[in-house]
Amino acid sequence: MKPAGHVLPLLLLAALLVAPWLLPEFHITLLNYIGLYSLVALGLVMLTGVGGVTSFGQAAFVGIGAYTSAYLTTVHEWSPWLTLPVGLLLTALVALTLGLVTLRLSGHFLPLGTIAWGISLYFLFGNLEALGGHTGISSLPPLNLGEHELKSGGEYFYLIWLCLLLAVFAIRNLLDSRVGRAIRALKGGTLMAEAMGVHTPRAKIVVFTLAALLASVSGWLYAHLQRFVNPTPFSLTQGIEYLFMAVVGGVSHVWGALVGAGLITLLKQGLQDWLPHLLGQSGNFEMIVFGVLMIIVLQRARDGVWPLLQRFFPPPVVRAPVGDVAALPRRQRPSAGERLLEVKQVSKHFGGLVANDRISFDVRAGEVMALIGPNGAGKSTLFDGISGIEPLTSGAVSFRGENVETLPAREIARRGLSRTFQHVRLLPAMSVLENVAIGAHLRGRHGLFAAACRRDRAEEARLLREAAQQIERCGLSEHLTSAAGSLPLGKQRLVEIARALATDPCLLLLDEPAAGLRFLEKQALGDLLRRLRDEGVGILLVEHDMDFVMGLADRVVVLEFGRKLAAGTPEEIQRHPAVLQAYLGGIE
C-alpha cells in the first residue's frame, strides 16, 4: 500500500479538528447537521446497501431518541446522560417489535411497515398533550461535562463528529467479522446463508435495530443541540430524505453515508435559497429536485457518488490469514459405517406436480452415495427437502438418528449436514476467502459487540485460517483474495465445496460438483472426495458425468420422474434393465 493513499484522510481529519476555529458559526451549524444526518444515513447503508432491506421510517426513530430526552429532561428533570440509554432502549423495543412482525414476510413488507409506522408516530407526537402537541417541547437543558455546559456550536461539533467517527469505526469492524459476513449475506444470499447455519431472520432484525439505534443517538444529540423539539423533523418526508442521502452518497459504502448527507444538506441549502425566487412561491420544492435526482441515480448509477471519490482514498485491504494460529476444534467423527442419513418415503408436491414420490434410501459414514437420473427426475428437489430448504409434503428424514424434516435449514446445518447448490450461490462481490468463511459461521461464537470493538480477532483468525485451509484443499489457493464472481463457473463450484467443508460436516450433499470442470480438475475433485470418504465423511452426490460417478460411488440410487427406479452398486446399476431402458431407450 502506498503511503500517499493516507495523506487525504489524515488531511480531512486534521481539517475536522481545526474547523471550529476557522469557520464561521453558520458553517459549523451546517457541519453539525451533516454529522447528525450522517449518523442516520450510516444506519441506512447498513440496512439497505449491506442488508438488502430498507426503512422509510428512520426519522421516527430519530424522533423517539429526541422526544424521550426532551420529555425526561424537562418534565422530570433527568440528566441528559441518563435519558440516552432510556431512549436507546425504547428505540430498540420498537425496532424489535416491527422487525419481529415483518421478518417472516418477503422483503418489501418491512419498508411498508416503516412507512405506516413513520406516519402514525408523527401524528402521535403531534397529538399527545404530554409531548407538547404540534408546538413541541422547548428549553431543553444543554449537555454537560461535569460542571461545564456545552453551549456553543463548536463544542457540539466535536461531540457529534466524535460519535459519527466512532460509529463508522465500529461498523467497519463489524462488517469485517463473522456476524458482518452473515449480515452481508442477507442481500441476495439468504438461502445459502441459512444452509450454512446463519439465522437470517435474526441477522435482519439485528441490522434493523442497529440502524434504529444510530438514528436514536442522532435524535438525542439533535434535541440537546437545538434545545427544542417539535414533530416536523421526524415526519415521513424527512425519513425519505435520509434514504435519499444514503442512496445518492452510495448505499453500499460506509463513507457513502457521509458523502450523501453532505451533498443533500448543501444542495438543500442552495435550493431553498434559489427555488422560491425561480418559481415565485414558497414550499419545499427542493424535494422535487431530490426525487428526480434519486430516480436518475437509481437508473444510471446505482452505486451513488462514493465510487467516484473512492480512488482518492486507500483501497480496502483484503487480509490473507496468518498461518500460526490454532486450528478450530472439530466435531466428533461418526464411527465408520454409522447410518448418517435415512430418507423414508419422502414426497414433495408442487401443486399438482409430483417432484418426489415416496423415495427411501440411506447414506452411511465413509461412503459415497450417488443420486442419478435424467433432468427433471427430482434430484435437486430432494436435496432441498433433505437439507430443510423446502418443506416436505410427506415422509421423514432422519439425520444421525434424529428426525430433522421439520427443522429449518440452519438447524440441520448445525447437526453436521452441509451442501452445495446446483446453481452456484456465492456472494460475487466478496472475496473467495470470505465466502468460504461463511461456511465456518457456526464454529465461531463472538457476536456483534465483540466484533464492533475488535475483541473477536483471535477467533476471527482461526475462522479465516480454517477457510484458507479448505480453499487450499480444493486447489484454489491462488484465488484466495479474488472476488468470487470473477472466477469461472467450474471454480465457483469448487468454492461452494470449500464453503461446505468449512462447516466441518459429517455428511456432504454435492449437487453437480463436476459440471464445468476440466478433465484434470475432475480428477483432483475425485481425489478430494475419496480422501473425505476415507476420513469418514458421508457424501451424497448428484452428478451427470457417468464416468465420474461410476468411478467414485459405492452405491447408486436412480431416480426417474420423481420415483426411485433402482438402487445398488455401480456394477449392478450399469446392468439394471430398467435403468438401461430409461437412459438408452428400450430395445423393440
Binding site: 418489501h108 405506516a116 402514525s120 397529538n127 434519486m294
Partner: protein, 344 residues
C-alpha cells in the same frame, strides 16, 4: 353514540372504504404485473380531483403542462431510439401519440373555456389529462429499472411520490378544493339522511369492480395482464410484451386513481398532499390481502374505511395513528400465515 350517528358514520366509512377498495385493487394489480409497489397511486387521486376543480374554476391545470412535458420527452427519447434503429415507420406514431395528442387536448381546452362545459365533459377532460400520466411515468421512470429488485422499485416509487407531491403543490397551491356534487339527491332511510353522492360512490365503485372483473376474465389484454402477473418470463415467451403489460397496468391504475379522486372530491376537501394518505389507506387494505388477493384486499379496504370513520368519532386526533397502527397486527397475522423462505 346513538343509532343515528352510528349509521351516519357507517355511511361515511363505507363510502371512503369503497374508494380505498378501488385503490387497493389498483395497487394489487400493479404489484402483481410489474412488482412495483405504486406509492404514487395516491397522487393520481389528488391530481384527478384538483384537475377537475381547476377546470371548473376556468383555469388550465398544471397537470396539463406536466402531460405536455412528459409527452415531449418521451417523443424525443423514443423517437431518437427509433431513428437510430432505422425504424422510420414508427416515428409518426411515436410523435403523434406522445407529443401531438397532448397538444391537441391543450388546444381544445384553450378554445372551449372549460368552466362552461357540462360536468360530464369536464370530468372527461380531467381524466384525459391525468390518466395518460400513468403510462408515461411508467415509460420514463420505471421501464429503465423494470428488471431490478422489488426493493429498488419501491425506492423509485417513493422518490416519484415525493416529486409528484412537490409538483402538486406547485400546480395547485396549498389550498384545498371541493368540487360540486354530481347529484344533490338525498334519501331518508330509517331516520337517517342518505346522500345521493355517497350512493353514487358506492354504485360507481361496484360498477368499476365488475368492469375490471370482466376485463380480466373476458378480454385478451386482461388475460395478457393476468398471464404476466402469474409468470413474467413465461408470458414474455408467449409474446406478451412486459413493457405493454406495464404501460397497461399503470394506465388502469392511473384511471382508477383519478376517477376515485373525482368521486370523493364532493364529499371531502382534497389538498395537494391528500392523495398520499388516501392511497396509503388503500395500501393497508392491499396488505391485508397480502398484495395478492383481490377480494380480500377490497374487504380489507372497506374495513379500513369503517375503522377510520368510527375512530374519527371516538378519538379524532388519533384517527391516523389508529388506522396506520392497524398495519402492525395485520402484518403479524400475515406473517404467521406464511411459512416460506424467500430469497432476498
Amino acid at each position: 353514540m346513538d343509532l343515528q350517528i352510528a349509521l351516519l358514520l357507517g355511511q361515511d366509512g363505507i363510502a371512503n372504504g369503497a374508494i380505498y377498495a378501488l385503490l387497493a385493487l389498483a395497487l394489487v394489480l400493479v404489484f402483481a404485473v410489474t412488482r412495483v409497489i405504486f406509492i404514487p397511486q395516491g397522487e393520481f387521486v389528488a391530481f384527478g380531483a384538483l384537475t377537475l376543480a381547476s377546470l371548473q374554476a376556468g383555469q388550465l391545470p398544471g397537470t396539463l403542462w406536466l402531460l405536455l412535458c412528459l409527452g415531449s420527452v418521451i417523443a424525443l427519447i423514443d423517437g431518437w431510439e427509433a431513428w437510430r434503429a432505422r425504424r422510420f415507420k414508427k416515428l409518426p406514431t411515436i410523435v403523434l401519440l406522445n407529443g401531438g395528442a397532448p397538444l391537441l387536448l391543450a388546444g381544445a381546452l384553450l378554445t372551449f373555456s372549460p368552466a362552461d362545459l357540462p360536468l360530464t365533459l369536464q370530468v372527461l377532460a380531467a381524466l384525459l389529462i391525468v390518466v395518460p400520466l400513468g403510462p408515461m411515468l411508467y415509460r420514463l421512470v420505471y421501464q429503465p429499472v423494470a428488471d431490478l429488485t422489488v426493493l429498488v422499485l419501491l425506492i423509485v416509487s417513493v422518490a416519484l411520490h415525493v416529486v409528484l407531491v412537490g409538483l402538486g403543490l406547485l400546480f395547485f397551491g396549498a389550498e384545498g378544493s371541493r368540487t360540486p356534487a354530481f347529484t344533490e339527491a338525498s334519501f331518508e332511510i330509517g331516520g337517517t339522511l342518505l346522500q345521493g353522492q355517497t350512493l353514487l360512490v358506492l354504485l360507481a365503485s361496484a360498477v368499476l369492480i365488475v368492469a375490471l372483473y370482466l376485463f380480466f376474465e373476458r378480454t385478451i389484454y386482461g388475460k395478457a395482464l393476468r398471464a404476466t402477473a402469474m409468470n413474467r418470463t413465461g408470458a414474455r415467451l408467449m409474446g406478451i410484451s412486459s413493457r405493454l403489460a406495464g404501460l397497461l397496468s399503470f394506465g388502469l391504475s392511473a384511471a382508477i386513481g383519478a376517477f376515485s379522486g373525482i368521486l370523493i372530491s364532493p364529499l371531502t376537501t382534497i389538498y395537494y398532499d391528500s392523495g398520499f394518505l388516501i392511497g396509503l389507506k388503500g395500501f393497508v387494505g392491499a396488505i391485508i390481502g397480502g398484495l395478492a388477493s383481490y377480494p380480500v384486499a377490497a374487504a380489507g379496504a372497506l374495513l379500513v374505511g369503517l375503522l377510520e370513520s368510527y375512530a374519527s368519532f371516538w378519538a379524532s386526533a388519533f384517527k391516523e395513528v389508529i388506522v396506520f397502527t392497524l398495519v402492525i397486527p395485520v402484518l403479524l397475522w400475515r406473517s404467521l400465515k406464511t411459512r416460506h423462505m424467500e430469497e432476498g
